[in-house]
């Protein structure tokens, strides 16, 4: 049995990378692969579902683990494990599964440091691994590594039901983001708050909600803007939250893929996002400013039948384009190249 070792900083609820690794792990295991996940932090949700181990990001620890457990593939998903890959010395293949890095200028205080990390990977990691995987064309082009293989994430891990028709009730509009103040600009929290306030000010009947990781203090600012706030929800609560929405918004200024946006569409919601990051690949509804978003929302509010039709087609698009079976097939194809050589 071939053995894959995934590496990531953490395996915790609320982090998209953890969801992706969790899905890859369980689905590859079903195909007969032995899969372990090495990380520095993890929670019980993932440790119950996958073979998660604590593994320090240093080459000696990883080499030793790989040698002891006959690992055939070491696949890093996040820093600092990317940086370790070229230093490993085993007879296994090394892959960098790149989820992308937010645009450094979104973080003025450590912009240069972030840019250095990005440059370091391009100069010192990608040239020295066997495969670079990018989770979207956007990431492939942004990391400037044209030979990276694009393998999209799937959406089948979310409960998929038929889109609901809301003909009379006020529209439920929601977002999903980390609520920490430091990420407001990047994730679009501040824009979302202003947007919701504007609707309230103009007495437009629409319900706004947000779900995400954060402290009660961090949730307060959303609540004050009239946004129904769900803090630190479980996967089940998240699923329920998505089910209750009519329209999902992402005002984030960078996303390597935006798993929640795809999850929302898969669960039968219309998803609208800014022309940033990988959004143009993952939703048909792209807006380039808040005015355009507002007009679109009002138009959909007025014409619920059209909203329903758009929602149905969005779900079809999403299920067709983003499914874990394809993700696994593409991964297996790359894995099999090496396996044949072995």
């Amino acid at each position: 049995m071939k053995h894959i070792l995934f590496l990531a900083e953490r395996m915790s609820i609320g982090f998209g990378v953890s969801v992706v690794i969790g899905e890859l792990t369980t689905r590859l295991a079903k195909k007969g692969w032995l899969v372990s996940v090495g990380c520095r932090q993890f929670d019980s949700y993932f440790s119950e579902r996958c073979n998660v181990i604590k593994l320090e990001p240093n080459s000696r620890a990883i080499d030793s683990y790989a040698s002891k457990h006959n690992v055939d593939f070491v696949i890093a998903h996040t820093t600092p494990y990317f940086e370790i890959l070229p230093k490993l010395n085993g007879s296994f293949e090394t892959w960098a599964w790149e989820h992308g890095d937010p645009t450094p200028s979104l973080f003025p205080f450590d912009r240069d440091q972030r840019q250095k990390f990005i440059d370091y990977k391009r100069n010192h990691v990608y040239p020295h691994v066997d495969h670079v995987i990018a989770i979207s064309k956007f990431v492939q082009q942004e990391i400037n590594w044209p030979l990276a293989e694009v393998i999209y994430n799937g959406c089948g891990h979310i409960e998929i039901g038929p889109p609901k028709k809301n003909l009379d009730e006020p529209l439920n509009v929601g977002a999903l983001m980390r609520l920490g103040e430091g990420e407001h600009y990047y994730k679009g929290g501040d824009r979302y708050i202003e947007f919701a306030k504007q609707f309230a000010l103009e007495n437009i009947p629409m319900n706004f909600g947000v779900l995400g990781r954060g402290t009660p203090e961090e949730g307060k600012i959303f609540k004050q803007a009239g946004i129904k706030t769900h803090l630190n929800a479980t996967e089940e609560e998240k699923s329920k939250y998505l089910q209750d929405l009519d329209v999902f918004l992402s005002l984030s200024l960078w996303e390597g893929f935006n798993l929640p946006l795809v999850e929302a569409q898969a669960s039968g919601k219309l998803a609208i996002a800014f022309d940033t990051g990988a959004h143009p690949e993952v939703t048909p509804f792209i807006v380039t400013n808040l005015n355009e978003l507002k007009t679109l929302l009002l138009s959909l509010d007025k014409n619920r039948e059209r909203l329903y039709q758009y929602t149905v087609k969005s779900q079809q698009f999403c299920l067709k384009k983003f499914n874990w079976e394809t993700t696994i097939d593409m991964t297996l194809e790359l894995l099999s190249n090496k396996t044949q050589r072995l």
């Binding site: 200028s105 010192h124 020295h128 044209p146 200024l253 940033t276 005015n291 679109l296 138009s299």
Partner: protein
Amino acid sequence: MKRNIPHLYKTLFPFMIIIKNINNYFILISGYICILQKINGLKKSQQTFWETITDTPQFELDNSKIDILKGWYSIQFYSETLNNNSTLYPEISIDYGNGYVDNENIALEHNNSHYHIQIYFHKSPVGIRIIPCRQAGLIFKLNKIKLKRIPLPLFIISAAINIYKRDTKNGRNFWDIIQEKLKLIHDFGLIYTINNLNTLISNNEDGLDWGVDYTRWISEVETRYHRNIKTKLEKLQQNSNKNNHCILIISNSLTDTNIDVSLNSVKNQLLAPCEVLILHKTSKVYCYSTTDKNISKKVVFNTWKSTTHSNIITLLKSGDQLSEYYLLALENCLHESPDCDVIYSDNDERSADGKRCNPHFKPDWSPDFLIESNYIGETLSIPLHHLKNFLYRYKQPIQFLTLYILYHFSQDNNADIKHINQILIHCKHSNEKPTPHNGNLAALKTILAKNHNTSISVKNDNKQYRVKHPLTRSLPTVSIIIPTKDKISLLKVCIESLLTITDYENHEIVIVDNQSIKSETHSYLNELSKNPLIRVISYNKEFNYSAINNYAVSKTQSDIVCFLNNDIEITHSEWLSELVSHAIRPAVGCAGAKLYYPDGRVQHGGVIMGIGGVAAHAFYGEEGDSAGYLNRLSSVQNYSAVTAACLVMRRELFLSIGEFNHKQLPVAFNDIDLCLRLREQGYSVIWTPYAELIHHESATRTDDIRRSNEIKTEVQYMQIRWRKWIINDPAYNHHLSLTIGNDFEYSLRQKNLSSIDARTSIDINPAQYPYLIENNEDRIAAIVTDEIKIRPDKKAEKPGLSIIILTLEKPELIEPLLKNLIIAKKELYNRKKINIEIIIGDTGSTSPEINSIYKTLISDVTIVRDLTYHFSQCNNLLFSEYVNFDSVLFLNNDIIFEDTINALYRMYVALNDDQKTGIVGSFLTYPDGRLQHGGVSIIEEGDSKGLCYHPGHGTVFKKPAIDSVIPIPAVTGACLLIRSDLFVSCGMFDIQYEIEAQDIDLCFQARRLGYQSLLSYPGEVQHLENATRPKGEENNQDRARFVRKWAVFYSEMMS
């Protein structure tokens, strides 16, 4: 397997390929069959026809079974279109091993029944593509393609006859023609002239780079830049952070007659300076302030320095003239880089009769080049605070102040020096040798004094210096790494010359044997390994240049590594000392040498990014003793890359930068990739003409075609990874040619760029790389900007029709259009009670005819003048400020209605007939009856999926029934009628589109909001397309933006 046609056969019997009748086959008379493959944008139509489904359909010749040799060929293309009035305009694209370069396609010329061209393959092509036309929706039959080799004598005779016929037709006499051609042969050499005869034949009409004359460059490229930069004048003038400019004319004496020349140029500035000074001494600190020719007052320089409000000082050498756009361009540059230290621009010279000549298209900041050969000149701009600092320290004559400043910054690794890539200075042309003067040298010596033991000497009639950097007292250890596989005759020359000629003492030679098989090789290597200076190590894996060298470096411990090809011959003893003296400088990443062919011609004079699609050697084939363009072949300088045929760098840096890229670049471009990574990290790459070696290059390359096929993925990797450098190499100049063999010739390539600071070019498909063309940072900036865009306060809801026309000059178009619209306005009110208002947005007309037209029509038309052209911004502004009615028609000024009254009425009715209709456009035709616009569609498959195209464009227009309408994804903004409230709901035209697609975006937005767009036929409407905008203004950023926003929506929701 490839069949080799016997060489004798190929020489004596030129071979011919004939593609017969459509389907897929080439039939070669010598019996070889080649397949013509469909690559892109084509589908079969009926049995024998092809239909183009994109605007870049392509066939590719599979030449894997035959060799097409270097030489002259005639290509003939016989076709017919289903519609006899359509024309194909085929092009040919050639891949010489570096991939296909779209903007180097060669158009075939029409000749009665077919298209043809005579073309020179400068080496065996790896691939040939045929682009039958640049139009989607065309149906054609491919009857025959002939590719026929022409023996050189025959070609020369036929070319000479063609050139002679053409020139005499242009009224030139026999002797003039002969003299001119002899001069060409004299200037360029016989072989070069023959190899470029096709350019001569085509009379430079096709935009090829070779031999573009400077006058043509001025008229086609510079005027375009002037037009674009002028559009920024108003914005820059109104900028609250505008700089205060002072021009300081530096002269030896107040009686210097050159001062007037400079002063006159200052007075013509479009952006006026705050003050103008003439400075003729510093030690005495007197200067004179003036605003015209007359000196108005005398001020103490020190007083001026402390009281002036100017913050940017332009030091202008007396006799130099500033272009009238100088300060405008400077202000624009400062707007983008407010904290830079120095700004310089390109310059040319003025001959005695005032004619402009000798353009100096300079590289971006190249400090090593500067100190050896001042390529910048003596006119530049600098912040006042810097000037004060320099003047405080500077004790030499004033005329050397500029050089002193430049020399100072050449030693500052953090200096931010900006280069405006435009001719903004005109210097006086002089054939005189510069007078020897110690001032320059003194200025340089003062600056370089900090670098102990740097020696400076004068050369080339005082035009250049030779700056020799010192080696450390204890020589750093050097490992010379030479990969090899057999071919010991070459290796022997290399090793023996290395051992006997090199004067650098502290080195070892590491020979890396990569699977040599010959016994004599092993014997020779065994013998060599007995030499204590030589180590032989084995790399026993398949050839991978990067991996071999990386492995070798891992087996060394020295301070410096020198990568050397085994076909290099050492001819000068000091080559290694020179290279090491640069490599040990902390700011230097690596250093490369000047390589010659055995016959003395230059093989490598640095690397220029972009030539041939990725990169090529500078000055390839140039005479060995040539100084090169701007002395670039005789001065140490900073290039973007150098070849690893001989490359020296610090070992530690090599390891920390990530070694050679053995994964993606096993065979080619690994040296360029390494250099660019060094440049990306802030290190400089040095090329020096003082390390001279012979490179027996051709001896090691026996199978170019095989090699070219192997490196296709490497080409692709380079083109994406280093795209920005390939498009615009900072060590070169974007006004110089990227055609192989034409480096440092003037180029027209900038005339196709959409804006003066366009970072993108036409070589990357926006549908495939929408995120590369505009990165996330730019996309975020667009969102933030959009949040403050204009929204109209008042509502345009009265029933009626507002007509908005943007116009510039063209009285012959706008006058009849307006007169007809005014008649229609009156008639439609009288007959149908439809209110009409006409709003003109003039974007800068100045002609008296236009003034007179406006004067007579002022009572019927709202005229808004002095707008700066931007389609979206101008139309949005006019709409927001002036529109009163519930329908608005956007019209180009080159639209001609056959029946204006009825056309307007029919479109108006079509818009209001159905509440679902949001937008109505019209079929538009050319004056010759061909279709100009029949709606816009989206490409649904292939590499260009998501891009827009105009179906049926150029075909003969079959008139539909009057009043007929058809739903269509989008219509052109040249004639677009929309509901006013919908226009507001859509946020008006999106101002982020610079040139194109804003109209299509509007239609798609309307569609998303539930409104359809209709294409109507309200009677004949002509569009003289491009009467207002130069043809070829395409903008890949706009296209990428459109694709990102709408490609998925179209495929999932609309198609």
